[in-house]
């Protein structure tokens, strides 16, 4: 091999190794930060990864929101029409958090089976329903109301 060729080969190898390493790291990092979507029915059927943070979605059940008197703790239930899951959260809820509206909560179950949420997402637009939630509701046979377009 001529020196130029050898140099070129070295550069190509370097790029390949670099990109390969980056991809390997990416895949393993992604594995850790993937959130699986779980519906209340999945919770009832226990078909979800138990030891990791998950993404729970459904509607905020009517008349389920309870606030603490002296702190920012709030409890409510997420439902898909068939099953309910109790959720606890401490902090400020998004503007569009309301009973009967779609919601997504990130967090884990504690030992009492209460979902301890560390993040609550409700969307910016009233007419918008997160696609996963919509599908979960349809699967659970929930009548989808005018909250969607």
């Amino acid at each position: 091999m001529t020196p130029t060729r050898r140099k070129r080969l070295a550069i190509v190898m370097l790029i390949l190794v670099g990109v390969g390493t980056a991809t390997a790291i990416a895949v393993s990092t992604m594995n850790d930060s993937i959130l699986f979507f779980v519906s209340p029915s999945d919770v009832a059927a226990q078909t979800f990864p138990e030891d990791r943070r998950i993404r729970l979605g459904g509607l905020v059940a009517d008349e389920s929101v309870l606030r603490s008197r002296d702190s920012l703790e709030v409890r409510f239930a997420v439902t898909d029409g068939k099953h309910d899951v109790n959720v606890a959260f401490t902090g400020i809820l998004p503007d569009l958090f309301r009973e009967g509206q779609g919601v997504i909560a990130h967090g884990r179950f504690d030992q009492y089976g209460v979902f301890q949420a560390d993040e609550i997402l409700a969307r910016h637009d009233e007419t918008y329903m997160p696609p996963e939630v919509q599908r979960a509701l349809e699967e659970a046979g929930h009548p989808i109301e005018a909250s969607m377009q």
């Binding site: 130029t4 140099k7 550069i11 790029i15 670099g18 990109v19 980056a22 790291i25 990416a26 990092t29 992604m30 850790d32 930060s33 993937i34 959130l35 699986f36 979507f37 993404r55 606030r67 008197r69 002296d70 702190s71 920012l72 401490t90 902090g91 400020i92 809820l93 503007d95 569009l96 990130h106 997402l121 969307r123 910016h124 637009d125 009233e126 007419t127 918008y128 997160p130 696609p131 996963e132 599908r135 377009q149």
Partner: protein, 662 residues
């Protein structure tokens, strides 16, 4: 009747675009001057009709013409005048119209400012852009017609999304689109080069300023969006790795790689094929971004309408454009000029590394953005990829970039000595380390992230200025603009890095329950809630919290965050109170009323150096514009075409200062 004129204008624009994409293109192929001579008038006509359609829609908004469905959906009688103008692009259909208008505008600009290009080449560029325009016009007319009517029209409209009723939102989409669509110019130049059968350095020289301008607009648009999200969403974050943000960020990353690889190809003729590929990729990613945002396949904080038909159309269009471009590339790649060789220690290597890191970063963001879609589509699981993935990958990939940036401009083309580069930079590095530690100590920011952030940022700033010193040595006149722009941009990244490091390491946030009369202490500031009062705006009512802010015993100012309720649609909105400052922002957002005693949940943030994030990013954008304004790109290209840029073959150019921004 008037809205129908808009419709007719769009159809006429489509016809003109179709003519442009066929007749002059054929003319360029057959080298028929008469057919090519049609291009300028077609481009002008195309622009005029696109503008007309846009104006018609604007007039419909101004006059509250609710028989137009789009107006009825996005405006109402109470909407203030300025927002009626910006409501034109507040929804899906109108934003497409804006896209088309901008594409037509870019085409007009190419026509006007590239007179010196060879006619065949310029005709091809315009025809290729015409093809892109056909796609968007068809898309608008077939799936998203803004001029559709409902008869009889409702007495009043819905509302423009209150989140968008904000000065920041007036300019964010147009700037972003200017960037997205601007990459169509670089794409057009690349494809025209491939069609012509040879890709020479001239191609790159001509397309550089256009790419820079598009990139600068995209940078400014993303920055504005981030700033808007910060004060409008009430969470105090400035970047969420939201899929829609990623959709604009991926083209930015590719665009950044592109402006650097163009520099190499133009100056040294190295990696020409890669540059062409990047130009194709940058625009394809813009299209992908549009697809992701507009089709509704994403779960995103940006709530756009879902419509599978639209998604399918864009996907098909993207396949045609990108697939066609790649096919052409594959066919013509062997005829692209051969790259020039270079040594391991050289500016080419530095820029190659830049390209590698930015291309890989774009790939990483793309992977994280698309993975949930793929996983869902394949029936694996419904997942989402969270910010931890993106943050981890970004820190990993951008740390070397920050470390390497100052080496780029310092090094010479073709061959250099590491010792020659390292000497002046060693001083910058030493100063950055000492000063970085001292500042972090002075601020009491003892986290690893804050310290490395200061060191990294100062290293970029000092390293860049030490290049300025080297470049100025022995020069009688000042630096050329493209160099000034490069220096601004690189220093801007330094400012940005400091801002990001400080915000992510030293933000203080407290969510508390507050009643009138109570105070909250945070970082030496005291926030006293005096009362919560109802207030009224033109199309909303609100509860307003009145805070007095003290530092020690001194009263500083009042801060009055609001919780608004918009009349139409009844949407609730948080209006944060902000006290911006160079070294910190005070930020108060109202949560919700907790009981009848006017107790509210309140979020208070103290965000150190958060302004530096946008300040740095704006410097970056400004640097791009200054670079693009350099006279070397705009003087008569034809004279250069005659004597190809072979003068600087000797490896080391006349002076280090005469080189391109890297």
């Amino acid at each position: 009747m008037i809205p129908e004129l808009g419709q007719i204008s769009l159809i006429l624009a489509l016809i003109l675009a179709t003519l442009l994409a066929t007749i002059p293109m054929y003319g360029a192929w057959k080298n028929d001057t008469r057919l090519m001579a049609l291009a300028p008038s077609l481009v002008i006509g195309h622009f005029v009709f696109a503008l007309l359609a846009y104006l018609v829609l604007t007039v419909a908004f101004i006059n509250h013409d609710f028989t137009v469905t789009y107006v009825a959906m996005n405006s109402n009688l109470l909407l203030p005048f300025a927002y009626r103008l910006s409501a034109v692009w507040g929804g899906h259909e109108g934003s497409l119209l804006l896209w088309i208008l901008m594409l037509a505008g870019w085409m007009l600009a190419v026509l006007m400012f590239s007179r010196a290009l060879p006619t065949v080449y310029r005709t091809r560029v315009l025809a290729v852009m015409g093809i892109v325009s056909i796609g968007f016009l068809l898309f608008t007319l077939l799936t998203s017609n803004p001029f559709e009517r409902i008869l009889p029209g409702p007495p009043d409209g819905q509302d423009m999304n209150p989140l968008l009723q904000d000065p920041g939102m007036i300019f964010h989409p147009p700037l972003l689109y200017m960037g997205y669509v601007g990459f169509a110019v670089a794409f057009g130049f690349a494809i025209a080069g491939l069609l012509g059968g040879k890709v020479e350095r001239d191609w790159v020289r001509w397309s550089r300023p256009w790419t820079l301008i598009a990139w600068a607009f995209l940078t400014a648009g993303i920055t504005l969006g981030s700033w808007w999200a910060y004060y409008e969403l009430g969470w105090g974050g400035w970047w969420f790795w939201d899929p829609v943000e990623n959709a604009s960020f991926i083209p930015w990353l590719i665009g950044t790689a592109l402006i650097h690889s163009q520099a190499v190809t133009e100056k040294r003729g190295a990696f020409p094929a890669w540059t062409v590929l990047l130009a194709i990729a940058a625009f394809s990613m813009s299209l992908l971004g549009t697809f992701l945002v507009r089709s509704g396949v994403l779960t995103s904080v940006h709530a756009f309408a879902n419509d599978p038909e639209r998604g399918l159309f864009i996907l098909g269009f993207m396949t045609v454009i990108t697939g066609g471009a790649l096919l052409l590339y594959a066919l013509r790649a062997p005829r692209i000029m051969a790259g020039e060789g270079f040594d391991f220690v050289s500016r080419e290597t530095a820029l190659m590394l830049n390209n590698m890191f930015f291309a890989v970063s774009a790939g990483m963001v793309l992977l994280g953005t698309l993975y949930p879609l793929v996983s869902d589509f394949m029936g694996w699981a419904q997942v989402s990829v969270g910010p931890p993935y993106f943050s981890a990958m970004f820190i990993l990939l951008m740390t070397p970039v920050v470390m390497l940036i100052p080496f780029g401009p310092m090094s010479r083309w073709k061959k250099d000595e590491i010792t020659r580069i390292a000497k002046p930079l060693a001083i910058s590095a030493a100063v950055a380390i000492v000063l970085g530690f001292s500042i972090a100590a002075y601020l009491g920011a003892w986290s690893a992230r804050a310290i490395t952030g200061w060191i990294g940022g100062l290293w970029l700033i000092f390293g860049t200025f030490s290049y300025l010193r080297t470049a100025l040595r022995g020069r009688r006149r000042g630096l050329p603009r493209h160099q000034i722009g490069m220096i601004m941009a690189h220093a801007g990244i330094g400012v940005f890095v400091i801002g990001v490091a400080m915000v992510s390491s030293s933000t203080v946030q407290r969510d508390v329950r507050v009643e009138p009369g109570q105070t909250v202490e945070l970082e030496g500031y005291r926030f006293e809630l005096t009362e919560v009062v109802p207030v009224k705006g033109s199309n909303w009512i609100a509860d307003e919290a009145r805070f007095r802010v003290f530092r020690g015993d001194r009263e500083l100012f009042d801060m009055n965050p609001q919780k608004r309720r918009y009349h139409r649609g009844g949407q609730i909105m948080t209006q944060v109170a902000l006290r911006p400052g160079i070294t910190r922002d005070l930020y108060i957002a109202m949560g919700e009323r907790l009981d009848d005693n006017d107790a509210w949940s309140i979020r208070i943030h103290i965000k150190p150096f958060v302004r530096w994030i946008w300040g740095g990013a704006l410097l970056l954008a400004l640097g791009g514009l200054v670079s693009a304004s350099d006279r070397r790109y705009w003087r008569e290209s034809r004279t250069q075409a005659q004597k190809p840029a072979r003068a600087d073959q000797s490896g080391r150019t006349n002076a280090a200062g005469d080189e391109v921004p890297a």
